[in-house]
Each structure stands twice: as structure tokens, then as C-alpha cells.
Symmetry: C2
Subunit: 325 residues, 2 copies
Amino acid sequence: MHILVIGGAGMVGRKLIERLARDGRLGDTAITRLTAHDVVPPKLPQAPFETDARVSDISVPGAAAALVAERPDVIFHLAAIVSGEAEADFEKGSRINLDGTRHVFDAVRLIEGYAPRLVFTSSIAVFGAPFPEAIPDEFFHTPLTSYGTQKAIGELLLSDYTRRGFFDGIGIRLPTICVRPGAPNKAASGFFSGIIREPLAGQEAILPVSESVMHWHASPRAAVGFLLHAATIDGRQVGTRRNLTMPGLAVTVGEQIEALRQVAGDKAVARIKRVPDPVIEGIVAGWPRKFDAKRASSLGFVAETSFEEIIRIHIEDELGGRIAD
Amino acid sequence: MHILVIGGAGMVGRKLIERLARDGRLGDTAITRLTAHDVVPPKLPQAPFETDARVSDISVPGAAAALVAERPDVIFHLAAIVSGEAEADFEKGSRINLDGTRHVFDAVRLIEGYAPRLVFTSSIAVFGAPFPEAIPDEFFHTPLTSYGTQKAIGELLLSDYTRRGFFDGIGIRLPTICVRPGAPNKAASGFFSGIIREPLAGQEAILPVSESVMHWHASPRAAVGFLLHAATIDGRQVGTRRNLTMPGLAVTVGEQIEALRQVAGDKAVARIKRVPDPVIEGIVAGWPRKFDAKRASSLGFVAETSFEEIIRIHIEDELGGRIAD
């Protein structure tokens, strides 16, 4: 089996590729080759199969066709300009998130007799406030960002291309990934990870919102699990509605902090510094808090059920099991 | 006020232009000029303002920019490849309904300091079965046709372009227009109009489905009313959710026939010939039957409340008040 990962240099792509290299198989099928693609050279791990890296820009006509010409059996399309950047640079976001996705989908469509499984990462940003208390599977898409708009368009195209038999698509709306490894970034959502990651590393973290703010989380490990399950699930079981809100964990910032206390003690919690930021508080107020992700759960997608578990996964996967004293 | 109607040669476009010519104004503002556009020359009625016709293909780069260069104050974008054709010719539907709409939106976006009211006709085809008994305003979009997919994408772009201030958009999802004037066509939905139009004209009509089939209707006159209201409504009142399911009338085929009997007697009803067609029955089974269009109603959009009224409008507007004996 030949797997193509478009957007393989991003955090989720990298973790997916590492997992595939470790497993050597996808579901019951041995992997013979993995092609990792991105606009920057993706890192290739040691793997029990052939690996190759490709660098190109999927928004450039022809690039996507070159990528899929060898007919990979499974395509993961994870490439995207993130929310903040797509909002700041409308044309860039449209070019990559909308045109780029369409180029990938059309490149597959135009190969006669080829209909691979294609897994597309969408986002809970397809939803926009006001929301019911828990957003049901049949709630409509009224994104309040260009990123969310572009992802929602990708979902619609994925469904239609699947219905027409151009490929066999599954779109998954990822929760906010927490604890996101790496350096703090300027994303408005950064603090959700920062208030856990920094204290565990002995650093101070800034909390810009009140403890009552609730949000929807899953670990990077769960995200990779979603991708693998989406790549192997029987399409007939999914039916015609091919885009799914992934399960996650709805917790308040206060509950995140209490979980940190359980796992790492008062000393870690004391490293969280409250610096209210009305701008971030305002942005976050428009975000989804909680979903009732019945369909994905019934289809076998699994997320964490406690925030302690999410913190322990970070300690295992990123900190080698050790936390700062 | 200068008005541009893109897709002005279609049935709804033609009726809109006739109404504007008759009124001489849009809301409280006198019309000084109307530009009617289509791929074929649109008919221009006598009007108390300047009129001009333009012929071009909005899917061709540059065509949309040429159309909006004179900065019309209000743009109606009605142009589309219809459902059946967009399904039969995927590339043509994508080119006109998706690229063409994006070209129109982008042409407006790229004019500095220009943010006209832009009214976009979407469709109840953005919805796909299975449905709740009455589809609420917050129900999600899972179109089962490429046409519905392309319209849903237009809605998403319209919302985002409005949010960003590129224009001031309102998207309206039209019910099935009934009674559709003109010759019978091969659309699967054609019989909803045919079983009224043909008997009133003394002709035989074919009914391919059972009388229990329910569908969502509004007259051509109501459709024009929706467009005028969408063009003049205060955007602040609409808020960020810019796409609205228009009100309509949910009636069964049996109720349509009884209304015909009330208006035109048993002789007209006797001209309906039952010829069951399992293919059409199957297609229609996937269509929306009924909506709970609360938002549009509360915003002042008004449709007919009885099917007799819909029939009488056809007799007045298309038959000069006379029905066949």
C-alpha cells in the first residue's frame, strides 16, 4: 500500500507519519511506500517501507496532478494555511485552502478508474456562534473566519466528489489539539496548550481568559487515531454524509488547571499567570465549546475522556515521561 | 440607482426586470439605470430608466470584472446552470456555478471602496435527505447534487465576503417555483407545475408520482418579491447569517389537485393523467418537503399561504385572467 500525506511537515502530519513508520501497516494492510509532501521538506522517520519527500505548492496548477500521478492507495490531505494567517491574508488562504484543496480533489478526479480513500482534515471552525449548549451533528455551518469558510467548502466538495465516485472521501473536523507541542505561538487558542505545556516544562504561562471558558479538546495522539480510523473505515458504514465532527473533551480552563494540579501538583499550577486580555476573551467567545459528536463515536472514533489523560499523553509523548520539578 | 441583473434572461430574471421596469424604483429609491446580463441576449422591457443588455460568460476570467466595473449599486446574481444539467455535465456546472459565482464575488471584492448589496439566489437543493419533518433554519447542508453543492459553496463565500466587508450580501434559498410558465421541460420537478399549467391551458398533463408527495412551493411573483425584499432589507437586521430559506407553502400533490378543482373545476382536473414513474418518484423522495422558515418570515419575506392563491397568480400573470374551457 502506497500512502500520500499532503501537508506532512505540520505537527499532525509529522505525528501521523511517525505512527505509520512505527506500525508499518495501515489497518490490516502492510505499507510498502509513503510519500510525504509539503511546501517545506517534511522530515522522514526511519521506516520499514520506502519513503520519499516531495516539496511543492498545491495551489500551483499541475502540482497536485504530479503528486497523485502514481495513484497512491490512500491520500491524507492535511495541508492548510492556519486560521490566523488565512484571516490576515485572504488571498493566500483562498489560494491554498480553497484552490489547493480543489486542485488535489480534481487531480484525483481526472485519473480514469482511480478512486482512492481520501482523508481530509476539516475543523470545528466551520461552526460559528451563536451555538446551542452542545452542537449536534446536524447543526449548520456558519463559519466566522475565512479559514472556517474554506474548510466548509472543502467538506462540500469532498461529499460531492465521493457521491460521484471520483474518490472515497472522509472529512474529519478536528477538535482543538491539546497539548500542542513546541514553542508558544501567537494563535488566539495558544493558551489552551500553553497553560499545561509551559508549567510542565518549568516555565511560566499566561492565561488571558477566565477559568469559566469551555473548549473542545483532543490530544495529538487522538488526532492521529482519528486519521488512521478515517483511512480504514468502511465507507458504506459512513453513508452519504462524509464529514464528521470528531469526538473530544469539553472542559473549562478551570478544569484544565485542576487536572494539571492532579498530575503535576500545586507547584506547576503556580506557574500560570493570569493576565486578562479582552481581545482574546472576545475571540474565544465566538468559538464552539462543546459538541454532541454521536455519529463519529458510533462509527468508532475515540478521544480522551479526561483532561488528566490528555496531560499524561503529553508527558509520555513529548517529555519522555518527565516533568519539571 | 444602477441595478445589475446577472442571469437576466432566465425566468426569474426576466420577471424581476419586468417588475423593476413597472415600479421604476427599488424600495424608496428611483432606478436610473438597469443592466441586464446573460449568456444569451436578455429581453429589455419598456422602462422609465436607461436599460442596457450585456452578453458574456461569467466563467471566463475578466467577464465579471467588466460587468461590475461601473459599480452598480445593487447586483442580483441569478445566473446558474440548473440542477439536471449540472448533474449531467459536472465540469460545466462547476465552471458556471462555482467559478462563475466566485468570479462575480471577486470582481466586486477587488474594486476598492465598493461594497454593493449583492443578492444571490441559492436553492433548497443545498439540503439532502434524510430530513426532519419540517427542516429548521439551523439544519445542516448535505446536498445530494452537484448543483446543490455549488449553491452551498456560493452561500459560504457570500457570508465570508460580507463579513469581510467586500460586499453586503444576502443569499436566498428559493422554493420550487410553481406555477412555472412556458413549455413543459424534462426537469424531474416539472410535473409540479405541469399538472396545473397544462390543464388550465386545456392540455393533458402527466403525473408521475403519487398524490401523497409533499413539496415546497412559491409563485414566480413571490420569488420576485423575495428578491426585491432581499435587495432593500437592512443588513444589520439580518446579522452575520446571511443565507435564508425563503418561506413557501408545503402541499401534497393531492392538495395541489384539489386546489385546481376549486379554481378551475373537475374538467381541468380530468386532464391530469396518472403515469407512475418509479425513477421520478425516487428522485423526488430525496427532496425537501417542508421547511420551518422562521427567520425569513420574521425578516419580512412573504410567500403564498394557499395553493389556490398560487394558481390564481398564474392565471393573472400568465393567462391574462382566462382559463381554458
